[in-house]
């Protein structure tokens, strides 16, 4: 039996407003691949961040080889032999592969003089260990994502890592590349390295892992031996019992005309042959895991990303949208995932934000009509019951829910007919959430149509008339509300190709 390598016990972590980890535990043996699964927000990432010194725990302890360890940052974890390969790769594109691997620890002749010959030789030795065929002198810039991942793995090896954590390593890889990665992972496992593998691809975990630990809502749920676990079993553990589900508002009139249609949209690896229809007065939910390409699809439709191929039809007419301004002209509105970054000008007041999209209408000869702007803002404050002392209030001083309402008011002022909500309730408290839901229902009663991207399954199930599920840039299924449940969505969301 392999020996116990890592043991995390009673780990809790609170972020402002969220208990990210609640008395969680996790164990890793040497020479095993241990998969960590759970829905978005289940606490997997927080757990491994604590294990590799990026985040600090509020309580609990970590044992390495039976001895308690204290981590003071990524470097102290690395020195203990714990390395992580992040989902977003942390390499310096202008430096060569070898330079990246040994950055900060370069072989030297004297204290400050580099020994680049030695650097390349050391790197080649590491490559030989895992039978990797790459030129150490190539710049990282030109490498594919898979190759960059290999470089990160080799870098982790160079620290003599005993524990290797991989956060969604296969999310961006093609099938061949995944095979190559698995070959290397198995090689490391056979050498006694303990590997933590976070992934949403359940089928893939069946192939590579020895054990699977399931997390939900920051809590440990169960650990299964992979050979005994079925995908259905894992999914049911992941979603647990559904507590938060109400009957959706109203079934959509199927006879309603199509207001927005996408035909075979393509844009890089996140948007592949995407087609769907949105009816008038309908809420169309886009479900899927983080990185499935949902945001990219709608950004492409909105003209924020470039469309490579495909057609967009609005009210049955083919349109050309090459920038967001065009989309606004066609009656589209987009409430972005990150309000702070994209949707609102936070330092400005409600009035300025309300007319941001259609400033022209409130100006004559370049001079603004402040009375008209104020009236427009007051109308939205009243209609959407935005809680604020006045329309002159800076948006940065409003709560998350009220900021979201201002953003909605902006598109209503622009007379948007089709509104795209990207994670509309992220970072909003429960009370404000239900207000946003009510508002969305009011909007469709007024004949508007809504596309809602959400990573929260209860939200998708509660709000959408129809649900489109995406995985890896493709639409893997479309469900009517009454035939959808968390399990069926999850199964589609983890369906590769």
């Amino acid at each position: 039996m392999a020996q116990q390598l890592i043991s995390m016990e009673g780990i809790s972590k609170r972020y402002p407003g969220v208990l990210a980890l609640d008395n969680a535990h996790f164990e890793l043996k040497s020479g095993e691949v241990h998969a960590l699964v759970g829905e978005n927000g289940a606490g997997k990432s927080t757990l491994v961040k604590i294990l590799c010194g990026i985040a600090t725990k509020d309580s609990g302890k970590i044992l390495l080889d039976g001895k308690e360890i204290h981590l003071h940052g990524p470097r102290s974890a690395q020195d203990l032999g714990i390395s992580i390969i992040h989902q977003e790769l942390n390499l310096m594109p202008d430096l060569t592969i070898a330079q990246n691997i040994y950055i900060g620890r370069e072989p030297r002749k004297f204290k400050f003089i580099l020994n680049d010959g030695g650097l390349v030789k050391e790197t080649e030795k590491l490559f030989a260990q895992i039978h990797l065929d790459l030129d150490p002198n190539r710049k990282v810039e030109g490498l594919s994502v898979a190759q960059q991942q290999m470089v990160e793995i080799v870098k982790a090896l160079s620290f003599n890592s005993k524990v290797l954590i991989m956060d969604e390593p296969t999310a961006a890889l093609t099938n061949n590349e995944v095979d190559e990665l698995f070959r290397i992972i198995r090689g490391l496992r056979d050498k006694g390295v303990g590997i933590v593998h976070i992934s949403h691809r359940l089928e893939e975990l069946k192939q590579i892992s020895d054990r699977i630990t399931v997390m939900r809502d920051g809590k440990y749920v169960d650990t299964l031996n992979t050979k005994d676990a079925t995908v259905d079993k894992i999914i049911s553990l992941m979603v647990g019992r559904t507590i938060f589900q109400e009957a959706p508002h109203i079934p959509s009139g199927k006879s309603q005309p199509v207001v927005l249609e996408a035909k075979n949209l393509n844009n890089g690896r996140f948007v592949r042959n995407v087609s769907f229809k949105l009816h008038k007065g309908e809420i169309l939910g886009f479900a899927g895991l983080v990185g499935a390409g949902r945001t990219e699809v709608l950004r492409t439709i909105f003209g924020a990303d470039k469309l490579i191929s495909g057609e967009i039809l609005i009210h049955g007419k083919k349109v050309r949208i090459s920038r967001p301004q065009d989309a606004v002209e066609y009656g589209l509105g987009y409430l972005s995932e990150d309000r702070k970054l994209l949707a609102l000008a936070l330092p400005l007041d409600i009035e300025a934000n309300t007319v941001l999209g259609v400033f022209k209408r409130f100006a004559r000869f370049g001079l603004t009509n402040s009375r008209k702007i104020q009236l427009a803002a007051e109308k939205q404050v009243k209609d959407l019951s935005i809680r604020t002392p006045s329309t002159k209030q800076r948006v940065s001083n409003l709560s998350g829910g009220n900021q979201q309402k201002v953003a909605i008011g902006k598109w209503l002022t622009a007379d948007s007919e089709i509104i795209i909500f990207d994670e509309p309730t992220r970072g909003i408290d429960v009370g404000a959430k239900s207000e946003i839901y009510k508002l969305m229902n009011d909007l469709i009663d007024q004949g508007k149509s809504i596309v809602m991207i959400s990573s929260e399954l209860p939200e998708i199930l509660r709000m959408s008339h129809r649900i489109v599920v995406m995985c890896e840039g493709r639409i893997t299924g479309e469900l009517l509300n009454k035939e959808a449940n968390q399990e069926s969505i999850m199964a589609l969301a983890t369906m590769r190709n």
């Binding site: 990524p74 900060g104 580099l114 961006a172 890889l173």
Partner: protein, 337 residues
């Protein structure tokens, strides 16, 4: 993966094009001016071009490091001036030895660079603003310390010889030109063969990745600006030796010419890449152009217009190249077949 190889080949080609471009335009300019005027390709005029390259060239060496980190240093011109004044005070006003004046001059610039580095790395003030502030501080200090008057080195003719004498008598190449090429070579070694150089690239390429890899990014960033200040100090010594006087009102505008030399030489303002040889060529391009226009009797005002246009063009070429690389690497990582 043959496709990856292919696109990296095209990348290498576009890199090479950029490098050859600066050198090619230098050659074309020389040919053009030689045909246009028989006064251009004379030993005296070529020496004049080299002479005009030196001070800006030395400033540009430091600026190359700063720009590779993705930063900018606007204060190098007036740091040079305050260093020149410091040298003048030591040698002329206080009648201390010449070598001490040189050391104090270089240290003055170095101290200014340390201040820049501290403001930027520790206080997190954006480089543009921090060095704009120190530009004015240095400018003011130079005027105050000199009492608004130039300091002449008439009693110490050997100081002038450091720049204008010639240890190679036949070609009569001024020493200052040799000093410039020597310092350029040292800067090249520093950039390519030392940890300091490696971290300079790392900072500009992905500072966060460097930090997560255990590189003390703040420390190295400060050293980069210290080096920039040191080259400004050296430039101050050289310009005062060359002019045989420390001119307290000089210095504004030098920073832009230095940045121009770096950018023309193919160093990207985005950071992460650059070469000293490119900067040397860039400095030569600027002085050759200015000299050639003067030989052709183009009015001074128009020379400035031309120089500005060249800088904008160089930056634009850099952007175009970046864009093409981004597109090709996006295509490659997208995994589309």
């Amino acid at each position: 993966m043959p496709r990856v190889k292919l696109s990296s080949l095209t990348k290498i080609r576009s890199d090479a094009i950029q490098r050859v471009l600066a050198f090619g335009s230098l050659v074309i300019m020389i040919i053009f001016f030689s045909i246009a005027s028989e006064n251009f390709l004379t030993i005296a005029n070529v020496n004049g071009i080299l002479l005009a390259t030196t001070v800006n060239g030395v400033l540009a060496l430091g600026a190359t490091f700063v720009i590779i980190t993705g930063g900018i240093d606007l204060s190098v011109g007036t740091m040079m001036t305050v260093s020149a004044v410091a040298t003048g005070i030591i040698i002329t006003n206080w009648e201390l030895p010449i070598w001490l004046g040189i050391i104090v001059g270089i240290l003055t610039g170095t101290a200014g660079g340390a201040l820049n580095g501290w403001l930027i790395a520790r206080l997190k003030i954006p480089p543009f603003i921090a060095t704009l502030g120190t530009l004015y501080i240095a400018k003011g200090l130079a005027l105050v310390a000199s009492g608004l008057k130039p300091i002449y080195f008439n009693d110490t003719p050997r100081f002038n010889e450091i720049a204008m004498g010639s240890i190679i008598p036949v070609l009569e190449i001024p020493n200052i030109v040799l000093i410039f090429f020597l310092v350029s070579f040292l800067a090249h070694l520093l950039l390519t063969k030392t940890t300091f150089g490696r971290y300079t690239f790392a900072l500009g390429s992905n500072e966060e990745a460097a930090r997560l890899s255990g590189v003390n990014v703040d420390k190295w960033k400060i050293w980069v600006y210290v080096f920039g200040g040191a080259t400004a100090g050296l430039a101050g010594v050289l310009i005062s030796a060359r002019l045989n006087s420390a001119q307290p009102s000089l210095g504004m505008g030098y920073e832009l010419e230095a940045i121009a030399a770096v950018v023309i030489g193919g160093t990207s303002l985005r950071g992460g890449e650059g070469k000293i040889i490119g900067t040397v060529i860039g400095a030569l391009v600027i002085s050759t152009l200015t000299n050639g226009l003067r030989v052709l009797s183009v009015p001074q005002e128009w020379q400035t217009v031309v120089t500005g246009t060249i800088v904008v063009l160089a930056v634009y070429l850099d952007i175009v190249r970046r864009k093409r690389e981004a597109v090709s690497s996006a295509r490659q990582t997208s995994g589309e077949k």
